[in-house]
């Protein structure tokens, strides 16, 4: 029988929901499960309600799903909110010191300070969630040892006693659960022949940036972009990356532009309103033809919106942000592996075409951890595309060229002076009001997109290639839509997936080819108006038949997409 279980861990902020999710998920992954974790949290440090989901299966997972098999409740609110989601075979593990009432008819296991830490019940508060994780493994009848190792890794820096309490609680939780039979079994799942990775979208992008030769990152903290900045910063000392926390997003992008002008591979990023502040800097990078990668981690707006929730509402914004037909590239990865590859590629494209490359992510993409194989993170080539050696003629930073790409040199590397200007400028970089020069220079900059679009593609397909029904999506919607397509196929409705990860300059030919033969087109997006839908029509004239949209801040689920599809068709 196929294994597909959904564990939901809920509690108040500060109760250790996050700190216990990773050891549990990793323990299950090391056991041979394909694991996917999703975070859902509020914009607060203490209290409130937050929950993580750990989905595990005997096959690769592309998405979270609805329905809860194991509910770990660290407070009463979790029980109250999530009991309706518990599936027929489901059960509840709860902290009996916090939870006073559990629904009748659902099997449950109460964890108490006394039954987890008989000798040190007063310390149980900090170890109770470890006890719950042990209990999960006990129910599933899988070995406990990987979890104990991970608890030691997680809590090792908090001292021997803390580790000991957590290990003891996990062991007791395991024993309590293993003593009963709830019918769960992971029999048949064996530790994998080669170790797998549990990695989030933003973590993978941080690795892609490092592998791609990143040297400078600047940013102002803002959810959900901060997790990427942190992931680079934690690795920066080992890899000689300058991390500069800026006074605001305006400074963040200008710092990165200055570093890039001087020759360091540079990246900045932000979310929501932070990108509004970066917009003038975006234009500056376009005009001065300064290579730059900008990560824009979307969150539902307008304005402050829902700071910690997810959405895809900023595609139109980043496509058109800034005045004056400013050339840029826009990418949107759908999985951590794509995020790794696209970030490294973005750094190369920024250098090769001397323009800003924007990578769109969101909270769901950034925080969701996928199980990957190491081979899905291949070595990347770094291409700085710099002119070297003496210039053949007096150096012109913005020399007119057939492809619009001028030889780029760095200041201080020779007698050639590098003159960059935000004003319209002559080929040697000085400001001008010669209108003929302006027209020629502006076309030179825009011409670079013609070369770039030749390199673009980034289309992922899945499902039945001959199916008349095609579901189109972009960025982080890949996983849920992919699973929806699989569910449709299994239910007797052949369907295919067409996912776009390289959005601008729009790969017209590749997209048209991918959609050829489909009779019915459905666009699925996490926004209110169908922004890729508009772009598709604008660039190709293709009009879709139906839209499945979601803009409430919670991620797509495969079930939601199927319901939306059923309602639309």
């Amino acid at each position: 029988m196929p294994v597909d279980l959904n564990i939901l861990i809920g509690g108040a902020a500060g109760q250790g929901v996050h700190s216990i999710t990773l050891p549990l998920a990793k323990a299950l992954m090391r056991q041979g499960c394909w694991v996917l974790t999703v975070q859902s949290y509020e914009s607060r440090i203490r209290g409130g309600h937050l929950f993580n989901q750990v989905r595990l299966a005997d096959r690769r997972l592309s998405s979270s799903r609805e329905g809860v098999d194991l509910l770990i409740a660290l407070n009463q609110e979790t029980v109250d909110l999530h009991t309706p989601e518990i599936l027929s075979q489901g059960l509840i593990i709860y902290d009996a010191s916090e939870v006073k009432e559990v629904p009748g008819g659902v099997p449950s296991l109460a964890l108490t300070p006394e039954n987890l830490l008989p000798g040190a019940a007063d310390k149980a508060e900090i170890a109770l969630n470890a006890g719950a994780c042990g209990a999960v493994l006990g129910f599933l009848k899988v070995p406990l040892a990987p979890l104990l190792t991970l608890l030691q890794e997680t809590f090792g820096d908090k001292g021997g006693e803390v580790v000991e309490w957590n290990v003891q609680a996990a062991t007791r939780g395991y024993e309590l659960a293993a003593a009963q039979d709830y019918g769960f079994s992971l029999a048949g799942i064996k530790p994998p022949p080669e170790p797998r990775l549990l990695i989030s979208g933003h973590e993978a992008m941080a690795l892609g940036a490092l592998a791609g030769g990143l040297q400078f990152i600047s940013g102002y903290p803002m959810t959900p972009w901060t997790s990427l900045l942190n992931a680079v910063a934690q690795r920066a000392p080992r890899h000689n990356v300058v991390v500069e926390q800026a006074e605001d997003e305006i400074a963040a992008i200008n710092l990165a532009i200055g570093a890039s002008y001087a020759g360091a591979r540079s990246l900045t990023g932000t979310s929501g309103g932070g990108f509004c502040l970066m917009t003038e800097g975006l234009g500056l990078a376009c005009m001065t033809e300064t290579p730059l990668v900008i990560v824009m981690s979307m969150r539902p707006g307008p304005s402050t919106g829902l700071p910690t929730r997810t959405g895809q509402g900023d595609l139109s914004f980043v496509l058109f942000a800034g005045q004056g037909d400013a050339p840029r590239a826009v990418l949107a990865p759908g999985t951590p592996a794509q995020g790794f590859a696209l970030t490294a590629k973005a750094l190369n494209w920024a250098d090769r075409y001397q323009l800003p490359v924007i990578i769109l992510t969101d909270q769901y993409f950034g925080d969701t951890q996928f199980t990957h194989l190491p081979g899905e993170f291949p070595e990347v080539q770094v291409d700085r595309a710099l002119a070297t050696g003496p210039a053949a003629a007096p150096y012109e930073r913005y020399a007119y060229t057939p492809d619009g790409v001028s030889p780029r040199r760095l200041p201080g590397f020779g007698p050639e002076l590098v003159v960059a200007d935000s004003d319209e400028h002559t080929p040697d970089g000085h400001l001008t009001e010669d209108l003929a020069v302006r027209a020629r220079m502006h076309r030179k900059r825009l011409r670079k997109l013609q070369g770039l679009v030749q390199e673009m593609g980034g289309i992922t397909t899945a499902g039945d290639p001959d199916a008349p029904l095609a579901l189109i999506c972009w960025g982080s919607s890949l996983g849920p839509v992919k699973e929806a397509v699989a569910l449709l196929g299994a239910g007797g409705t052949p369907a295919r997936l067409v996912h776009l990860s390289e959005l601008w300059p729009f790969p017209v030919e590749a997209v048209a080819a991918a959609l050829k033969g489909s009779k019915k087109l459905v666009m699925a997006e996490m926004n209110a108006t169908g922004q890729l839908n508009r772009l598709l029509r604008q660039e190709t004239g293709i009009k879709t038949d139906h839209l499945v949209l979601k803009d409430d801040g919670a991620p797509f689920t495969p079930e939601y997409i199927l319901r939306g599809l059923a309602a639309a068709i």
């Binding site: 797998r196 990775l197 549990l198 990695i199 490092l210 592998a211 990143l214 040297q215 400078f216 600047s218 000392p237 890899h239 000689n240 300058v242 500069e244 800026a246 006074e247 605001d248 305006i250 400074a251 963040a252 200008n254 710092l255 990165a256 532009i257 200055g258 570093a259 890039s260 002008y261 001087a262 020759g263 360091a264 591979r265 540079s266 234009g283 001065t288 190491p374 993170f377 770094v382 003496p390 210039a391 007096p394 150096y395 012109e396 760095l410 200041p411 201080g412 590397f413 007698p415 050639e416 002076l417 590098v418 003159v419 960059a420 200007d421 935000s422 040697d428 970089g429 000085h430 400001l431």
Partner: protein, 327 residues
């Protein structure tokens, strides 16, 4: 030894000087074949070396005095154009680097300091001078000024203070005197002017000075001290706007400025003395070095720069090691 100088208009302002230590013989021959001139003698760099494109400033603009003094300062410091990056923003002052010959980044309004900081962090081998106006630096870019004082990057910030918005034709700037009538404030400016130097002293800015277009020789010396100071050097230069500011004229400044280092009790290492001098404005206006003290540089705080400038490093990241955290 012979000097071989070639006219700038043919060779795009590029001159090479004493190049033998930096280039191999083949490179020298290649450059010479391309027509670049080499100077081998130890004479001072020619002032023409720093000539830029034709200026669009008004005749009589105080900026001309600053430009000439700056070129003299560079020349006497033996600073080659290729070793210098002048970063500017928007305003008449920000056209400054175009009228020079040097590496240039003329960015957007108010953002001079973050760009210059980025340049320095990427390549501390470059001398960085940020040129801004009073509107540019104190108005649009105020937050960056506060952050720059905290960061203490080794760069020079020169603020051309003409106490008016000139590029936009005559509105009040953050340093226009209270009560002064302008095109946008016909009843007079209701606010008090920003005391930028006092702010800088209060924030422990590493070097604080003021120069004046009415004393070019003194200004040249201040440029040199600011450029050679190790840390953030903030030099405000009083610069008459002959078109839009009929109050703060050459005559107005000449009657008021005095060389502060020539007065008794001169003590720029003393914060309290410096604060008093920084606040002095009105009948008498001090020019000269007002405050200086050495502080750790931001460049020294970044471990990544211990291995040399980022731009000289070849990052090689071991992929299996990067992935190891995630098994």
């Amino acid at each position: 030894m012979t000097a071989r100088l070639l006219p700038r208009n043919i060779f795009s302002g590029v001159w090479l000087r004493r190049y033998k230590p930096f280039l191999n013989k083949t490179d020298v021959l290649n450059y010479e074949a391309l027509g670049y001139g080499f100077l081998y003698e130890d004479a001072m760099l020619p002032i023409e070396l720093y000539a830029g494109i034709k200026s669009a400033w008004c005749p009589g603009c105080g900026n001309f005095v600053l430009l000439q003094a700056f070129k003299q300062a560079l020349r006497e410091l033996d600073l080659r154009p290729q070793d210098l990056v002048v970063v500017s923003g928007i305003g008449q002052s920000s056209k400054f680097p175009h009228y020079l010959s040097c590496n240039t980044f003329n960015g957007i309004h108010g953002r001079t300091l973050p760009v210059g900081t980025g340049v320095r962090l990427a390549n501390p081998d470059l001398k960085v001078v940020c040129v801004a106006g009073d509107g540019d630096c104190y108005g649009e870019g105020g937050n960056h000024l506060l952050a720059a004082m905290r960061r203490n990057v080794d760069l020079t910030l020169v603020v051309h203070n003409n106490q008016v918005y000139a590029l936009t034709k005559g509105q009040a700037s953050p340093t226009t005197d209270q009560g002064q009538k302008t095109t946008l404030q016909p009843q007079g400016v209701p606010y008090t002017p920003l005391a930028a130097l006092a702010l800088a002293v209060s924030q422990g800015c590493s070097w604080v000075g003021r120069g004046s277009a009415t004393d070019p020789e003194h200004l040249k010396g201040l440029y040199q001290q600011a450029i050679t100071h190790r840390g953030l050097a903030f030099l405000e230069v009083l610069q008459p706007c002959v078109t839009f500011n009929r109050v703060n004229t050459y005559q107005w400044y000449r009657e008021r400025v005095y060389r502060v280092e020539e007065t008794p009790g001169y003590d720029p290492e003393n914060e309290l003395w410096a604060y008093q001098k920084a606040k002095e404005w009105g009948e008498r206006i001090p020019i000269g070095v007002i405050y200086r003290h050495l502080r750790p540089l931001l460049e020294e705080a970044h471990p990544a720069l211990q291995a040399g400038p980022l731009v000289r490093q070849q990052p090689q990241r071991d992929l299996p090691q990067l992935l190891a955290d995630f098994f």
